[in-house]
Assembly symmetry: C2
Homo-oligomer: 453 residues x 2
């Protein structure tokens, strides 16, 4: 007997869950569209050479590879591979369509990616990424515009308590230099510092020492960070402390000035008042060249999304640097948090239809289909109980199990009289409504029901 | 140098093309939702056993298989395979979630499938399928509801000239028996008759003979069909001719009665007046058990979609028959026809934004971001030219190349005066508008522009 489970680490999205996912994606698309981001989609699989060598040794092992076909299948080798992220395909698109794409290409892309990770709670082998990237400009307006867009998405979804953590790759480097950590140990130090939220000052201190950072440098770094991080550290104060710390280091001074500019540019946007400068933020990723950003809510360990400027990655297929700044929203995490917090509109739980139409014998079928057509034309979502049932109770029970609010019944008596029996499953009220008024009555009932929620 | 082309037979969807695709998908989703169909999505890949043996010898060769990973990669064998259609995953879902799914499960599913076909004009290795299926009832209300839904989709997309071809598996069988073609040759005969549109009566006659049908039976069949097919054959007349032909054959009589009922049920729906009974329609598919349906427009060879009743397929993983009726819209074909006929709303060609905001020096950046925020809050799609440009011409040229209609410029003079220079790229009119009136002026300009289209 074949298993009927989805493949390991993948999910079937049944209607209730998928309505929630579609709701989030629709909100995201709508906000990003208002910000001038354009949609892009790339194929599920790429030529294997396009992906090979792009994700490091560990990442490379997680790529799903597709077997050659026909006479080549027996070779046991692969020529194609499933998309592992949305960034490499974007880099390929930027190289392939140079002449067609605008000078400043702002795209959003919401598609699944596949990674052969060991499945775990909240970790899947097929999951959606939701990326925006703005390509072609080094202007800090880009960083500000991205952060404003992400903030507007979160606000539109109903998040009121998110914060933006902001740092800069060159400020990080200058800070580490200033406290006396040599450049060769910056990578090691960042791995340790990235854990400040999780393991605290003592934990990070021990880890810094074990990674070769001497005690004086480690305690200087932690003294600085403990004075500048945390929810109460105002952006102005932290920027001033950073400015003093990196004094004399040119790249660091420029980075602090850039952070200052980004904060100022956000003042009139949806991100106003959300920004915390966090000098410890590194996001573990080596490819950032400028701003580093992250969005978080208090009740979630980890972030709802992150990004930054990465000016030497998108040109990988062009052989030259192309400026770029991007942000990736954690769609799966957003859905988890919104579900836990019950942030979805109650309408989504209404199920498939606003109204179910039932008929009691075959003579009622044409009237049922005509009534359905009239209601649907008025924008009402209508399901039809497809089978004749002598009594009300079958369709009534079924409508209740489907969370449908209104049941419209066309029995022989109703057809003779030219009316419809309308039952409200919420209030249990029942009335007979003349056929020529039923569409208005139902439309009004739905509207007032929604208003009352 | 790595190629930057998408893999053979696949496509990158750049923004203009993708906006058209999203528009179609949104319309389809909205109509199907109003018909009480619920969304379903399944993973891109399935355990290979789920797909093996489901698509015949030819289909089986076209399945993309995924190589085992890690230590098993060297075996050269596959454990997963990419989705080949949406029907087998649906059958798996119906078996897996029996207790959670409603008794009458109506789902729509719009997802890509992958087939290793030889790529050709209009034939891709990754393409979308767009299916509705209603599971759990043998009522003819289901057939009528599906055809009404498909008709409403096509009407909502702007198709005014489509026709529904309708036939019935048992009517076909009875017709072939009645003209003297033995049951053993029905499969051969249907292959030939399916080509009536393409190769005409003489062609089909020759093919029937070559497939072993004797001359008398072949000419009876063609005589009957030539009197009942064609755009002018009214449903009533054809049903009557069919009824006479199949007289005495019980299954055939019932099938003709079912066709009659479906036509009658459609009278009050969006499909009214669209139905042609076509006794030659077979759709080459052996799995239909009842109604066979197809939708076509005059200027397209082939169909925009098709479907029918197939009562013994969805239960494949359950080991028992489950009634089902489905319809698959040819999304890719619909998009081709709509593009050729220029049926897309002109707004879609507007590009990424309604307005582009430009600033002339860095001091204008905060004002640009604030204006963008105000406009976006009013629902306007806004792009920002990210770099300071001393003169108007760079952003002006760029806005024109991006098909943006309005350019809002914040130069030093405008900032001093507290206004915004607004240029309409369609009319070339330019005016300075006070900052506190600019959102209204732009919102009105966009609204009237849309109304004027």
């Amino acid at each position: 007997m074949t298993s009927t489970q989805p493949a390991r680490g993948t999910r079937d999205f049944l209607p209730d869950e998928l309505r929630r996912r579609q709701y989030v994606i629709d909100v995201v698309r709508d906000v990003y569209r208002r910000y001038g981001f354009e949609p892009l989609e790339t194929p599920a699989f790429e030529n294997i050479d396009t992906l090979t060598g792009k994700y490091g040794d560990e990442g490379g092992k997680l790529i799903f590879k597709i077997l050659r076909r026909g006479e080549h299948e027996a070779s046991g080798t692969a020529d194609l591979a499933l998309r592992y992220d949305l960034t490499v395909p974007l880099a390929r698109v930027v190289a392939q369509y140079q002449s067609e794409l605008p000078k400043f290409f702002k795209r959003y892309q919401i598609q699944p990616v596949w990674r052969a990770d060991r499945p775990a709670r909240g970790r899947y082998r097929e999951f959606y990424q939701c990326d925006i990237d703005a390509i072609g400009s080094t202007s800090l307006v880009v960083e500000a515009d991205l952060l404003a867009a992400v903030s507007d998405v979160l606000l539109a979804l109903g998040f009121t308590d998110f914060a933006i953590r902001l740092n800069h790759r060159q400020a990080l480097a200058a800070m580490l230099e200033a406290v006396g950590i040599p450049a060769a140990l910056h990578g090691e130090a960042l791995v340790a510092l990235d854990k400040l939220d999780k393991i605290g000052i003592d934990g990070v201190s021990a880890e810094l020492r074990s990674r070769g950072v001497d005690e004086a440098a480690a305690s200087s770094a932690l003294a600085f960070l403990s004075g500048t991080t945390g929810p109460d550290a105002g952006a102005d104060a932290v920027l001033e402390q950073l400015r003093v710390l990196v004094e004399g280091r040119e790249a660091g001074i420029a980075a602090v000035a850039d952070l200052r500019t980004i904060v100022d540019l956000l003042a009139g946007t949806a991100a106003a008042g959300r920004v915390r400068i966090d000098p410890s933020l590194a996001r573990g990723l080596s490819y950032y060249t400028g701003a580093i950003m992250e969005v978080a809510v208090p009740d979630l360990a980890g972030s709802l999304g992150g990004g930054g400027r990465y000016d030497n990655l998108i040109g990988m297929f062009l052989g030259r640097d192309v400026p770029a700044c991007g942000f990736s929203l954690g769609l799966e995490r957003i859905i988890v948090v919104m579900t836990e917090r019950k942030m979805f509109p109650p309408d989504l739980a209404r199920g498939a239809a606003d109204v179910m139409i039932a008929f009691l014998d075959d003579a009622g079928r044409p009237a049922a289909l005509t009534l359905a057509a009239d209601l649907r034309r008025a924008g009402v979502a209508v399901d039809i109980y497809p089978e004749a049932s002598r009594k009300f109770d079958k369709p009534l029970k079924y409508a209740a199990s489907r969370h449908v609010r209104l049941l419209a019944i066309l029995g022989p008596d109703e057809l003779t009289r030219g009316d419809v029996a309308l039952k409200d499953l919420d209030t249990r009220a029942q009335q007979n409504v003349p056929r020529d008024r039923i569409v208005d009555v139902i439309a009004n009932a739905i509207e007032s029901g929604e208003a009352g929620k």
